[in-house]
Subunit: 333 residues, 2 copies
């Protein structure tokens, strides 16, 4: 499933990598134009949906280009590639913050409503009704909204400044070059895909495999093991590492034209793992706000534990996707 | 597996039921003697372990006798059986409270230590150490200890009073009668086991089957469905009902000499369900104590959610035991 598409293996390494980088550069420039047309860089503020979609596409293309330049570095003109990669990493991480705070707030407010048995605003009411939010949950929601909206507004300002900076314009110019002509290493680029790109992508895959081997996957395979709730500041790090290495591997496979559906599904489980872990941390942080009521702190404690269980659920899901265990088939309906 | 042992099916209903009731009555009297010898009714207080074991055996025998007198009521001398049953239910529920408060406290303190990554007192430290309890967890533990120890002391006093009462002595006298001669209905007792006891036990089984059919088992089969955390005061009741009906069915099968290993395992899952639900409720109650610190309330919120996840885990376990799904075999090691 993850094997490179044989159609590509007959071209040169330069043909295949060049085509991928050009398509991603084009996607980057298209997203940039969409962003400028959306007016999101002006008065519409952080909630303009077109601006959201545009910056998301921009980040996706930036990550793919940066990742490919790293994985297939020897095939590129390395000093140029290294410089562009550094700038793209800066750009995508700057743009990511605003989106992250927004999804974190949505996740936490949704969880508060789910825990209370009430629909989140805008969703239909569940059959049989449900209790309304308790005073504690409502206050916890208001506190999280205040703290995360503030963080998100700051991140939005940082995004706007980044996208209006001369540093960004230089990145956009470099990507425009990439869209027409990819600076490659003449010798390496002339090699065959199977001799040049495949071994380089195998390095990325080996790093991923080694990191996955260090995960406590057997433990994660037992539902309700309650590991994720144990206070341990370091337990998430290996999973976050695998998430990053999996993305690098996925983009390399994408460049080689392979089917990445399973890698995508595994990546989504680890995205959920990361999102839930950060939401749990935000809840714990909010609980340390001075002078909050005990009922608010209690609701934040429940919310924290709920999100840590989402962390555990994401590990369980990743385990099944990774080892191709048919969860649904194993369980009676 | 749950079918009656064919060896018994050849005797009369009176022989089989009489033998079971006599053996349980003997167990009751033996436990009572142990209790009196342990001195638990005197100065040793609620922590004397022999007294614990004795009252546990006393409760087990009382429940079995009461349950059999209900299931097989037409085979007994009903007015005598109904009176004894009422008294045995009073006795076993009175004795159960002290034990319940004790195990609830142990469960909650163990959970606080598990969540903190520290061993509970008396257990070896985990490899790699672990953080000590936070101030909030320590205070939450102290609060729960205060509240549940008070409740347990009251329950212990109630137990002592019950076991010293003339009402109890009358129960013990009736059980002593049962140990030598079981008052039976002459006609029904002369019938064959297959004609009399098996149809009566089938009624108990049918009640259980109908109650299990009403459980959201398909939902429970999906790990991490997060249902148990939703605030809904009524969601546990059907599971508690099944727990009681399962026990009645198990004792009836025991009387018929059937293998009850699977019923026992399913019952243990539902005991865990009940214990976790009550521990979660105790944590929520403690959080409503006036003037507690926010950190204490936060720790109680985490603890509440942790125990509600134990509730969900117990439902998942029950589902697999009940439908004989090989959980371990379905999951890669």
């Amino acid at each position: 499933m993850d094997r490179p598409n044989p159609d590509h293996l007959t071209g040169t390494a330069g043909d295949v990598l060049g085509a991928y980088l050009r398509s991603q550069a084009t996607a980057f420039l298209r997203a940039l134009r969409l962003y400028e047309d959306s007016g999101a860089h002006g008065a519409n503020g952080p909630d303009a949906p077109e601006g959201h979609d545009a910056t998301r596409s921009l980040r996706g293309a930036a990550r793919r280009i940066a990742s490919s330049l790293a994985t297939f570095r020897p095939v590129t003109e390395t000093s140029w590639a290294d410089a562009l990669r550094t700038e793209l990493v800066w750009l995508s991480s700057t743009l990511a913050d605003e989106h992250a705070y927004g999804t974190r707030l949505t996740r936490l407010i949704d969880a508060l409503h789910r825990l209370a048995g009430t629909p989140a605003p805008g969703l239909p009411a569940p059959r049989g009704g449900g209790s309304s939010l308790t005073v504690g949950s409502a206050r916890a929601g208001a506190l999280l909204e205040r703290q995360l909206t503030l963080a998100r507004t700051r991140a939005h300002t940082a995004s706007l400044q980044a996208l209006g900076s001369s540093r960004f314009h230089a990145v956009a110019d470099a990507v425009a070059v990439l869209a027409s002509e990819v600076p490659l290493d003449a010798v390496a680029a002339a090699g065959r895909v199977g001799d040049v790109l495949v071994p380089l992508s195998a390095v990325a895959e080996d790093r991923l495999t080694a990191a996955v081997a260090d995960l406590p996957l057997s433990r994660a395979s037992h539902p309700y093991n309650a590991d994720a709730l144990v206070a341990d500041a370091h337990q998430d790090a290996p999973w976050h590492d695998v998430r990053r290495l999996l993305r690098v591997h996925r983009y390399a496979q994408e460049a080689l034209g392979a089917d990445v559906a399973r890698l995508e599904a595994a990546g989504e489980a680890l995205d959920r793992h990361r999102d839930a872990a950060e939401a749990a941390a935000a809840s714990a942080t909010a609980a340390r706000t001075p002078r909050i009521a005990p009922a608010t702190a209690y609701a934040l404690g429940v919310l924290h534990a709920d999100q840590r269980h989402e962390v555990e659920a994401a590990r369980f899901a990743f385990h099944h996707i990774w080892l191709r265990t048919p969860v649904a088939a194993a369980l009676p309906s």
